[in-house]
Symmetry: C2
Subunit: 267 residues, 2 copies
Amino acid sequence: MKAGFVQTSPRFGDIRWNVDDAVERIRALCGSTGATLVALPELFSTGYQFKSAKEALDLAEDASAGYAAKRLGEAAKELGVFIVAGFAEKSGRKVYNSAVLIGPKGRVGTYRKAHLFSNEKKIFSPGDTPFEVYKAGRARVGMMICFDWLFPEAARTLALKGADIICHPSNLVLPYCPAAMITRSLENRVYAVTANRVGAEERISGKRLKFIGTSQIIAPDGKVIARAGRVRPCAHAADFDLKAARDKRITPVNDIFKDRRTGFYEL
Amino acid sequence: MKAGFVQTSPRFGDIRWNVDDAVERIRALCGSTGATLVALPELFSTGYQFKSAKEALDLAEDASAGYAAKRLGEAAKELGVFIVAGFAEKSGRKVYNSAVLIGPKGRVGTYRKAHLFSNEKKIFSPGDTPFEVYKAGRARVGMMICFDWLFPEAARTLALKGADIICHPSNLVLPYCPAAMITRSLENRVYAVTANRVGAEERISGKRLKFIGTSQIIAPDGKVIARAGRVRPCAHAADFDLKAARDKRITPVNDIFKDRRTGFYEL
């Protein structure tokens, strides 16, 4: 199968423009490469730097009925593909920093970011969904969002639950994650697709955020299959060999899951 | 405090030469830098590629009474320093791939490698010691050995038990670990000292192992403080700020230990 990412440059608060732009890029990527799974960045439909929880609540959308969900759902159905997208999810009076997996038949699953970074703690409610694995065609897909990368237990839990591919919508500003996701792939022997954004935001005076792009696809053996630049929107897809992600042997006698010494691990 | 590594090029089976060479290098490093904690490679006293379990048993030594332990103990006492060293540990009829922490007052602790790599499974008994943290002067030191790097739970467990510094004797042949240890430092905010060896062994015909050197010291913020070359023996030490390793905040509101969502993690 083929899977990939779309690296975007959202306009803050302009949901329609952001969603329509992303859908167009997904259509182009899937049309040219035959990709059947595409990851979008974190908060792709709204932008990142909310000034307040109130502003986030005003822009957040329902995971099924919002504009983003509906347009992505139409695209997934039309193209026969699965899409992972990060968005501000409204649930009652709460807002979560969420990712949704949408397929040709509609929404498959939603993940609410477990590890909130910095000011996100003032904006979003902490995630209350487990790290879960969902079927996307033949692939088993797990989702984690941006800062979750720092916690090895996130990717580990997804891998232990059977993920072949970790889709990782992000809004990275620090430089460490792209290299660390190679470690995440290696230590779990899974594919990792980090979809990041580019551009900058300074909606809070003096707090300019420059996003680093560098979206990437990492193979279960740690190879960097694709890596985007730091400045421009773009899209990449690659062949994924699901068997490689399901074979946890790195030598004939080392299965990295069977080799785990859980009796010695502290949680 | 200052800590560092000695990168050696052992002669297979020549325990006296290997130990004396290492002691000389430790003396030189501590003398010139004032380092009070020094890590040596995995199996520094014997070399790596045993042809059989029998050969390993013949070369393995007691953790307290062997030549390596005695000479390192004398050096630690004379220099007033702590030494972490990987060695083949004989315990009855068993041989472990172990690391020992020796201080001015003698042996502080022994760790037996939990995750054995490839042919090591034919040579060594799997480790039966927990990941433990020991005092070395003011520093709290944890040990893990080479391939343990691939399992995030090893470093995590040491960090959760309070390690400031992870000493990581290694005999690396694959290229992934040096970058991965940056991730290990970042995700745990600890210092990581990987002491690797150089040179090559082909004691089993057709199975040439070339060791990659690249010993390194990584700071809790992921900075590469020192990194050795790939070919020559050498030694490096650096200043360690233990407060940095004990402060788990990476933003004013993100303490990476308090932020852990253990209820969602699978072990």
